[in-house]
């Protein structure tokens, strides 16, 4: 979709669909919305309006990570099966070359999923039934009861950092571990691959200052 005011764009889209009602009846559509930043409620409203016309909104392709995140929370797809060429990450103008990360400042409830090329940081809990997927490492400033997958493209050096781990499904690269917290054990933990297995250890600040 082009540039301009969102309410106008939305209206012109709906008009377009109304004009060609036969063609769109029962269709599943993916919308490409470029750089527009849309809130979850706006996406939800659009989905409901499309539903009134018999059209199912199943994916929203966006250049804005915020919009994509909002689309994901509504259970909409954010990628077509033919992936677009990867976006070029701007280099940061600092002396340190950091890695890309997405920051998720909320609790992930059952059914929610965060998927990102890079590292994922969550401030909040990851409840049972929620999933995190990252090509890099995962850091959860809260409780992990759901699934966390780090290094999904095969990076065995990825880690999963968690303030408190309950029953959790961990995967790093292609190694799985269903971890249950032993009674009485508490505090920050880190999971990483050692000798082909996922090892969960208590976080000890001094030892972990690597590199």
């Amino acid at each position: 979709m082009g540039e301009g005011d969102w309410p106008e764009l939305e209206q012109s889209l709906l008009t377009h669909i109304e004009e060609q009602e036969n063609f769109f009846q029962g269709a599943r559509v993916a919308l490409e919305i470029g750089n527009h930043v849309l809130r979850a409620a706006e996406l939800g409203a659009l989905r409901d309006k499309l539903a009134d016309h018999g059209v199912t909104l199943w994916a929203v392709i966006s250049n804005s990570p915020v919009t994509a995140q909002n689309a994901q929370t509504l259970g909409l797809g954010t990628r077509l099966s033919t992936p677009k060429p990867e976006r070029v990450m701007r280099k940061m103008e600092t002396t340190l070359d950091g890695e890309a990360a997405i920051f998720v400042p909320r609790t992930l409830r059952s059914g929610f999923k965060v998927s990102y090329k890079g590292n994922v940081i969550v401030v909040g809990d990851v409840n049972a039934g929620a999933e995190i997927e990252a090509t890099g490492s995962v850091m959860i400033w809260g409780r992990l009861r759901g699934a966390a997958r780090a290094g999904v493209n095969g990076d065995a050096n990825a880690h999963i950092y968690v303030l408190e781990m309950n029953a959790a499904a961990l995967r790093i690269a292609d190694v799985d571990l269903n971890y249950s917290q032993p009674k009485g054990k508490n505090g920050p933990q880190v999971a990483g691959i050692q000798n082909g297995q996922i090892i969960v250890q208590n976080w000890e600040y001094k030892e972990k200052q690597r590199e």
Binding site: R39, R109, G111, G129
Partner: protein, 267 residues
């Protein structure tokens, strides 16, 4: 007056959505508020049975939406409580017969004349659920102290939040204090810790609910049963009153602890 639209939902079936919606509506109507209940469980209606009004259905919600009758004609007035109305669901259709904007339109038409509009949501997270929460001002999530029900409640709360209808409020239904004491049932604190939303009421497991449901006489009609009293208290909390939580077990410690937790914000 401008009505508040309260949607009662849960995700999982059988946890007591319809019972909760019926009893809160009855409790508020018995305080003299004008209340209408809408059954949005199209194809599987049963709010009419719980309210004891199933023999009086002429028109239903789908008839209103499709223009076969006026809204007033579909509103069944309760004979026990003159301020209580029911708009029943259609039984011969399914959820796709109405859309979220239909629900918003129906509620907007009712708002001027009512104090409360209760919407009984179907189980699940599909079209029927979206219809039910579209017009909501307040969402009440009902759950039982069981892991499966709590998991579904968590999912529903997340969906409510992402539709920006939150924060949802929690009713913990069918709590059995004896089982909790033995450690065989999730305690209210466990449920609250996981769901991290505001608790608006705990309803104890009570045989009177089964009896009253079959008779079409909601327990809240007379506040003598424990469950009926719990529903009356939730209704008063909805009206903004500060009502202490029922001490279901007599002098047991954890309810005091619980009410302290709630006062300090619940999480």
């Amino acid at each position: 007056m401008t009505a508040k639209v309260v949607t009662v939902t849960s995700g999982k079936g059988g946890v007591g959505k319809t019972t909760t919606a019926a009893n809160l509506a009855v409790a508020l109507a018995s305080h003299g508020d004008k209340v209408v209940c809408i059954d949005s469980d199209i194809g599987l209606r049963n709010l009419d049975v719980v309210l004891g009004l199933e023999n009086r259905i002429v028109y239903d919600l789908v008839d209103v939406v499709e223009g076969r009758c006026r809204l007033k004609q579909a509103m069944i007035r309760d004979k026990r409580l003159p301020e209580l109305y029911l708009i029943p669901a259609a039984q011969t259709r399914d959820k796709s017969a109405i859309s979220p904007s239909d629900m918003v339109n129906v509620c907007d038409e009712l708002r001027e004349e009512m104090d409360w509009i209760f919407i009984d949501s179907p189980a699940g997270i599909e079209r029927g659920f979206r219809n039910a929460i579209a017009p909501a001002d307040i969402v009440i999530v009902v759950t039982n102290p069981e892991v499966s029900a709590v998991r579904d409640a968590d999912r529903i709360i997340g969906l409510v939040e992402s539709e920006e209808k939150g924060p949802a409020r929690l009713v913990l239904n069918r709590l059995n204090p004896a089982l909790v004491k033995r450690g065989d049932m999730l305690a209210p604190e466990d449920v609250l810790e996981l769901l991290a939303i505001e608790l608006i009421g705990i309803v104890p497991e009570d045989e009177a609910v089964v009896v009253s449901t079959n008779r079409g006489q909601p327990v809240a009609l007379d506040g003598k049963t424990r469950a009926g009293q719990a529903f009356q208290n939730i209704a008063r909390r909805l009206k903004g009153e500060q009502v202490p939580f029922l001490n279901i077990e007599g002098a047991e410690g954890f309810f005091q602890k619980l009410s302290k937790m709630i006062r300090s914000g619940g999480n």
